[in-house]
Symmetry: none
């Protein structure tokens, strides 16, 4: 047993991850400095380097850390209300809270990913997992009610995620949240409506 609190390092790491995400999200990967992160944490720059080898590593770890958190929140929300919940404006807002910061970070991530094949593959895989998850959800909502052959669940899932990302993107430049929200429910209803009926 070490003298220090067990799990201390883990806690410290997570604390850094949280703050780092916040800082990166606000200023952007390139504009945020290690000093910004350190100051937000109230520690010295050097301290961060004991947990992460480089800025890039910190950035990637921060994204990864929160991707897990976010996913779980969304999923739990869906499990309660099912596909119908997904079509609501409330769901859009709920997910937005979780995603907005990360969306911006994802833009930075994409840039970083472009020159890193491994990373790009990870992103692709993760995206496909989301697609499959949503597709299954849709299919599941149908229950045994109908023959599934006529519906392209995967394409629908892709579209759902695309709308989500596209609408959030429009919000970043200052788009009206009310309109985006409405666009979400309108399009979701049209897209999944016939499936639900």
């Amino acid at each position: 047993m070490p003298k220090v609190v067990p799990g201390y390092k883990e806690q410290a790491r997570n604390r850094i991850l949280n703050e780092a995400r916040s800082v990166f999200s606000e200023k952007g990967y390139h504009s945020a400095t290690m000093d910004d992160v350190a100051k937000a944490l109230g520690v010295s720059k050097g301290a961060i380097y004991q947990y992460f080898r480089s800025k890039k590593e910190l950035f990637l770890a921060a994204l990864d850390y929160h991707a897990g958190v976010r996913g779980s929140v969304v999923q739990s929300f869906l499990q309660e209300g099912g596909l119908k919940a997904l079509c609501t404006e409330e769901f859009f807002d709920r997910m937005r809270e979780e995603s907005m910061g990360s969306l911006l970070l994802n833009y930075d991530l994409l840039r970083v990913a472009l020159s890193d094949d491994t990373l790009r593959k990870q992103l692709r895989v993760k995206h496909e997992q989301w697609v499959k998850g949503v597709a299954e959800m849709i299919q599941h909502s149908l229950g045994e009610k109908e023959v599934s052959d006529e519906v392209d669940f995967l394409s629908l899932a892709r579209a759902v995620l695309a709308i989500r990302d596209g609408l959030y993107g429009s919000l970043i430049v200052g788009g009206d949240a009310k309109k985006a929200r409405r666009a979400w429910s309108v399009s979701m209803t049209r897209l999944l409506g016939s499936v639900l009926d």
Copy 2:
């Protein structure tokens, strides 16, 4: 009045704009250096500064320059085939050729825009223009066939653009183009289908 060929400066500017876009697109706004751009052009760094006051200005100008080109291509395509053309996979591909490079740049642009109110407003306005354009197109396709009150054209338009952006985004990480294409036509048909019938 320059003794040199008239219009030379205009040409040179455009040449820079082209190359700059290419370089920024490949490396990203932050990672690309003015030297990269200069080398791609085969000129010295200083030369660029005779045409653009700063890296940011060059970046913005390059985006603007190509936004015009892109827009016109898309529009001409739509005028021929109308709303039905928009739902095709061919359209998706066609627009992709025009957009992909710019999409990445747009991510950089968003980051830049976040700390530039004027710029953000411009982006918002431009986006709204697209929305209106697409909404009108949809409404127009309906012709006098139906009462328009029941359909929220603007929301549909927003969704259409969101899907476009979202799908292109998925392609950037290496998503399968065929699947995205299919998702496009499937979702477009569902979204606009009842309008078209």
Copy 3:
């Protein structure tokens, strides 16, 4: 709270201030580079930027730092000998030692001040303080001996300072120190003589 020696930063700052003044004084504000200063200090350029935000700030701080030192030396000298001491060649020399390097810097400072309203105002105020100080000194020397209404102390003070600056200026181009010294005592005696008698 730094673990390092307390007051270290203060010392380092002052060391930079000293060296900077020396370098600026020798090469001039514009010709001296931050690299020159860094090399004179035996540190890297970056180190300086931890203490001063810009070259201009460093320059201004260096001037300010030494202005304090200089002022105090002069004042103490005057308090002992009063107005008579001020008229001596010895005083001229004494003050010269303190001023010469700074005089050159002051020329640079004037140039900088021309495009900086705040700075210009500071200089003006500081100059007026000197004027008032000298004027009071003259008035004080008179004691209750005479009615002061007939003497324009402020104008005299202005003249005294002008002569000082003018003579030092002549020395910079290589003027003969002996002659300047003599001009000082001769003119001071004539200027303040009747006041002193």
Copy 4:
């Protein structure tokens, strides 16, 4: 006989000299660019290089050119009114118009002069010429009225010039012209008063 107007080159040169002085005076030697000068002239940068080999040469030539002009203006003024005219506030203003710009330039010149022995010597010589000129003027004013042995004309002359330069210097930072003017007449009267009586 050349085709071009005889003396054209001379005229062009002088025109450049005039404008250059104006630009250098306003912006300072270092801050003024060759482009600034060219634009003020309404010609291209290249044109200037056909008359002057370098920026430094242009600067020096411009100063030299106007030194002559200025001197003559002042001298003519003095020849009319003699020493008494010199003591007036009017004279101070008159000379100020001629000197202010040049005073600033002289500061720049000093900096340049410091690393150029030849130049520094020229400045010293020129200054001594002024001193002698003023000294003779004072002596001349006395006429045969008195024995000159008791008065140190050269020192007085030095003081006069020093006051001029010192007061103008105070004006540069925004000092009150009225006060400087008054200081001039007050001090001149005290300095030369007994000589004049």
